[in-house]
Symmetry: C3
Subunit: 109 residues, 3 copies
Amino acid sequence: MKLIFAIVQDEDVRRLMDGLTEKGFSFTRVASTGGFLRSGNTTLMIGVEDEKLDDAIEVIEKKCKTRDRIITSPTPMGGATDIFIPQPVEVSIGGATVFVIDVEKFFRI
Amino acid sequence: MKLIFAIVQDEDVRRLMDGLTEKGFSFTRVASTGGFLRSGNTTLMIGVEDEKLDDAIEVIEKKCKTRDRIITSPTPMGGATDIFIPQPVEVSIGGATVFVIDVEKFFRI
Amino acid sequence: MKLIFAIVQDEDVRRLMDGLTEKGFSFTRVASTGGFLRSGNTTLMIGVEDEKLDDAIEVIEKKCKTRDRIITSPTPMGGATDIFIPQPVEVSIGGATVFVIDVEKFFRI
Ligand code: NI
Ligand code: NI
Ligand code: NI
């Protein structure tokens, strides 16, 4: 048995939880903030059988992978700093920090 | 030293914390939601000496074991779906998901 | 790779996070309550390379070490229990409970 601590961006939590549930993985969600990832994040504790570890990691990679997004951000016009023009800007979102821990004993009651 | 992650139902947290304290176990409580258990849950991190692991597990089993409870739930009367009659219904409460992790180094400062 | 669970007093969290960031350590912060430490506490999950473990522990020791503080507390005057006189009282603050766990697999995506 392994216990995965996956710290993911808030934006990806719902997608990740849905993906894990679809594949039959159990998890609990812990509120966490700051640190590993720039914006708001959440820590999922995911319990997995040894032989399903790679499947679980695949779900995390798929649902949380870093990707670029074009957002339209007001940008100050050159020269006149109080005039802002909406400009497309590329930002990086997603990403996860993942720790896999060996579990010595696991049980449900 | 072992670190126990016990995910328990909110309903059992107080009982479990009292039971652990009575036996001299130290723990911290982390807010968690969804996943392993259907309703609201809480994760306790419990630090235990190797030789006291079984004692700690015994406390968890005793305080969180799944049990049935009879609740009175309004049930639609057969045929007329807008008439509800209070009926005794058996629901399952309690339960816990428990991970025991080996601790490589432990200290208090 | 190691994962440190450091349960520290709320009062020390900011100092500890600043100290860890200065030294280049990554962490996430989990809301926790009661148990290991008397007053409000916070759990930091800190991921560290094996060879930097001692450095990280040093930061925790430095930022969270138990120290005495003199506070002025209203104390009942001997005899007349409804008269309170401000008295300097020494209280112990700080302290941390620290678990170091071995990480089997670690990755960022
Ligand atoms: Ni295992
Ligand atoms: Ni041990
Ligand atoms: Ni390692």
